[in-house]
């Protein structure tokens, strides 16, 4: 057998293992059963060693096995032992290792000299970063420096960032791009349950009878998880998938029913479902009586369009009867007029949720979270599940999906947000005391007031309240809404911008210092996915040139600034030591983390991990060691889940005579976020080489636009000309256009609006008004 034949045998073994994971007992001619052990023991001739890791890309957190040969990653297959993906992967995952080897990897530090980024030794660049940070603090105060990271940070990266900014420097100017994708999910969880992250897990899919996808193109954004829904339906033909969306997509095509609604009216639809449940007396009365309380908050809460916008909700406890009165405005006939969804469809949705014989999962992601009422719509989906008592049991699960590999594990759990600490909020003295004790810093060092969430942080940079910003693992010069303002801010002469990344991007283009970063399996780390699963990966490869992990870059700078006592670890032991220290914050049955050794052994572990056992369903006494009684929503002082009355409120900008279309933005399956990784993988780049604008064919006809012709989009923020796509992979309804944001050549975020949810601070990328013309 030659080497090529051996590699073919490897590929066959991987496929047989995936088949075995999907169809236990499957047999192949000549090969007997496909065994997992076989998959992990490739033919010796191939010289390939397989190592486990979570996938580099989305928040599903698929387990992959990466084949390493002669110091290079040469192969990828799904890990058949991973309970997440059962041996499968998606097109991005299978090509993920190619993203390590782009021709223009950053391998040395760059410092801007005479206007040009110039290579310098890493040591010199780190000296400069530390000196500039210290100089800025001295001249303008500690709140003049900021760190902006991401949900692609590993847990140790995020922990070091939090300790450096909050424990060492003493500022809460720490944010992450998860503010742009998950903040409303967090505030939804916090306001409804008092604790973040889902109560269920992916295993719910194996028990559910109905899947309702709310504004969530799961077929493209979470393809492996979507394949589990399809598999469930294949084995159980009575299972239904309902796609409730503002645009017809590949998910709609695969669904049993596609229901289109007008943008922002999801708020009214959810209320109509609750109204219908109450009207028909479909409420699970015992569950509601024992485990739920009712509340209302402020209304007409604004959109954050002005600098220094501030909002504080004022929750009031109400009765079920008052809640019923408030919902009177949401009878299905009224909501039909507002949403465009026929009353019969709204009744059908309510009947699915209420049917006592059906277990129901709801899924959502950016459609809910990138919403000027993002917190509210998260609350409303929980309201539906709580009214019928379909929550926290196998198959009954409202499930908020994430977009990044560690939006949960790092940003939400470690707390790399202005208001958070690794456990609790900065406003909570008990949480500050715990941090001060574990970090061994004076209590008064930890600032008790949050400063800026992401949009406000970039506004502060524009105003000059912030003078120094260090950006890691993210590309805000593609992803910030109303981008032109924030790009101009970064380019101002007296701002100092440091960017750590693996490739040149529009963000490194405007940096004063660029630090080359080690990527993914070039360093050790952990990520936490959407289902509370923490996954460890080893360092498998040597990073190129002087590239260094984000955590170690920050430690080097912290030491130069005199904080070496807070970061005493060696390069060899810093990951296990950080994990041990971080785990102290989460100790206890509500959030106990697995040990470092346990994480290394397993393909991920769900927290709370108590006495060697994962907690699959929180708040349910049968499964959750922290719960007292059959159901116990212990995150709230009244130990109840909170149903909130949240009304429909219109978005800040809607189509009008001058800008008559809705502009919606999002992603495609082939590309990861801003495309800085996936556009360097030829097969992914060639599949979708450039952004485009999707139009409904009737709109295209009216405007005289043919497929591929150039179209001018204009909003109040700017204009962009890009090619038309008509009836490609998706179709927006008449009066709406869609543009994917992955392409730095077509910066659609120059057109989007920086309005945000007043409670979460998360911007709405899904709705603004746009004029559409043939260019």
């Amino acid at each position: 057998m030659n080497r090529r034949e051996a590699l073919r045998a490897l590929a066959a073994t991987a496929a047989m293992s995936a088949a075995e994971a999907t169809f236990p007992g499957v047999l192949f001619r000549g090969g007997g059963g496909a065994s997992t052990a076989g998959a992990q023991t490739p033919p010796a001739e191939a010289g390939v060693v397989w190592r486990k890791t979570p996938c580099r890309f989305c928040g599903v957190g698929c387990g992959l096995l990466v084949g390493i040969s002669n110091g290079r990653a040469v192969a990828v297959k799904g890990d058949p032992t991973s309970p997440v993906n059962l041996g499968l992967g998606c097109v991005k995952g299978y090509h993920s290792v190619m993203a390590l080897y782009g021709k223009d990897r950053l391998t040395q530090a760059l410092v801007r000299k005479d206007g040009k980024l110039t290579p310098v030794p890493m040591k010199e660049a780190l000296d400069l970063v530390a000196a500039k940070m210290a100089e800025t603090i001295k001249a303008h105060g500690k709140d003049a420096v900021a760190m902006y990271g991401s949900g692609q940070w590993t847990i140790p990266d995020g922990y070091v960032a939090s300790k450096l900014m909050k424990g060492a420097i003493g500022t809460n100017n720490l944010e992450a791009n998860a503010r742009l994708c998950m903040a409303s999910a967090v505030t939804g969880f916090m306001t409804s349950f008092g604790l973040d992250e889902p109560m269920g897990c992916y295993e719910d899919i194996d028990h559910a009878d109905v899947f309702v996808l709310w504004g969530n193109n799961m077929a493209e954004m979470h393809p492996v998880l979507f394949s589990r829904l399809l598999e469930r339906r294949l084995k159980n033909p009575e299972v239904k998938i309902i796609d409730l969306a503002t645009r017809w997509t590949r998910t709609s095509m695969a669904a049993d029913r596609s229901i289109l609604f007008k943008p922002q009216t999801d708020l009214a639809i959810a209320n109509a479902i609750c109204h219908e449940i109450l009207r028909n007396d479909w409420v699970n009365a015992a569950f509601v009586r024992n485990h739920v309380s009712f509340h209302e908050g402020k209304t007409n809460i604004g959109y954050g369009l002005e600098d220094k916008f501030a909002f504080k909700d004022e929750p009031k406890t109400i009765t079920l009867e008052r809640y019923r009165e408030l919902l009177a405005e949401y009878a299905v006939e009224k909501v039909e007029a507002l949403s465009g969804v026929p009353a019969r469809e709204l009744r059908y949705l309510a009947s699915l949720y209420a049917d006592p014989k059906k277990k129901v999962m709801s899924f959502w992601c950016m459609g809910f979270n990138q919403h000027t009422r993002g917190t509210w719509i998260n609350n409303l989906i929980y309201n539906i599940h709580l009214l019928v008592g379909k929550i926290a049991t196998p198959g009954n699960s409202p499930f908020s999906l994430t977009g990044q590999p560690s939006a949960c594990g790092t940003v939400r759990e470690v707390g790399t947000l202005t208001h958070r600490l690794p456990h609790g909020d900065v406003t909570d003295e008990k949480a500050r005391k715990q941090a001060a004790e574990i970090w061994q810093v004076p209590l008064e060092r930890i600032a008790p007031k949050p400063t800026y969430h992401t949009v406000e942080m970039f506004r502060a940079l524009d105003r000059g309240d912030i003078r120094f910003m260090w950006i890691q693992v993210t590309n805000p010069m593609v992803t910030m809404p109303k981008l032109r303002r924030y790009r101009d801010a970064l380019k101002k002469d007296d701002r100092f911008i440091v960017v750590s990344d693996v490739y040149p991007t529009p963000t490194t283009d405007v940096a004063d210092v660029v630090l080359p970063a080690a990527m993914w399996i070039e360093r050790e780390g952990m990520w936490g996915n959407s289902e509370r699963r923490t996954q460890h990966f080893d360092k498998m490869l040597t990073p190129p040139g002087e590239a260094m992990s984000d955590a170690w870059q920050m430690i080097e700078v912290a030491r130069r600034m005199g904080f070496e006592k807070l970061f005493p670890w060696t390069e060899a032991n810093h990951i296990p030591e950080i994990w041990r220290e971080y785990s102290r914050f989460q100790a206890g049955p509500e959030h106990e983390m697995a040990s470092y050794d346990e994480l290394r052994r397993r393909p991920g572990v769900l927290w709370p991990f108590v006495n060697g056992k994962e907690t699959k369903w929180r708040y349910n006494g049968q499964y959750d060691p922290a719960a007292k009684g059959p159901f116990d929503f212990y995150g709230k002082p009244d130990r109840r889940a909170w149903i909130w009355f949240r009304p429909y409120e219109a978005p800040p900008e809607m189509p009008d005579a001058q800008y008559p279309f809705w502009l919606n933005t999002g992603r495609v399956v082939e590309h990861w976020h801003s495309g800085s990784l996936t556009r360097r993988v030829p097969v992914l780049h060639n599949a979708v080489p450039a952004a485009y604008v999707e139009l409904h064919p009737a709109d295209a006809r009216k405007l005289g636009i043919a497929n591929g012709q150039r179209v001018r989009l204009t909003t109040r923020r700017g204009g962009l000309v890009l090619p038309a796509q008509i009836d490609g992979r998706a179709r927006p309804p008449e009066g709406q256009v869609f543009v994917p944001f992955f392409d730095e050549g077509y910066l659609i975020n120059e057109l989007t609006l920086d309005a945000f949810c007043p409670i979460s601070g998360q911007p709405d990328y899904k709705k603004c008004a746009v004029k559409v013309e043939r260019a």
Binding site: R3, R4, L7, R8, L10, A11, A12, A14, A15, M16, A18, A19, T22, F23, G25, V26, L27, F28, R29, S69, N70, R72, V74, A75, V76, K77, G78, L88, G89, V91, Y94, V97, M98, A99, L100, Y101, G102, K103, D104, S227, R484, R679, R680, V681, P682, H685, N686, R710, R712, T714, T715, G718, G719, L720, V721, L722, G745, Y746, L747, E750
Partner: protein, 101 residues
């Protein structure tokens, strides 16, 4: 080009037809190995192509096989040739049509 392996699902009752059709895709430049499961309507397919153009042609041919209900990519195995491309951007706003408000 990398070697790829797939799980192929036949249209009901057409497993043998699918096996034969997929095997016919192989040729002097293309290796297309087909391993049918004995106890399931399921096939493992392993492809190996010499260049991008051949790979693209094979991809097109694969999805046109009438007896194929579904195809799931499972593994991509390279031989150190996983060199990826560089930055894809026009880079200059004017060239890509960015306009001020």
């Amino acid at each position: 080009m990398p070697i790829k392996s797939y799980l192929a699902y036949p249209v009901r009752g057409q497993r043998d037809a699918l096996t034969a059709a997929l095997r016919r895709l192989g040729g002097c430049d293309v290796s297309c190995e087909v391993l049918p499961a004995e106890n399931r309507d399921l096939l493992v397919v392993v492809t190996d192509t010499p260049d991008e153009a051949t790979e693209a042609a094979l991809q097109e041919a694969l999805v046109r096989v009438p007896a194929l209900e579904g195809l799931a990519l499972v593994a991509v195995v390279g031989e150190g040739e996983v060199e990826a491309a560089g930055r894809f951007t026009a880079g200059v706003p004017e060239e890509t049509g960015h306009e001020s408000a």
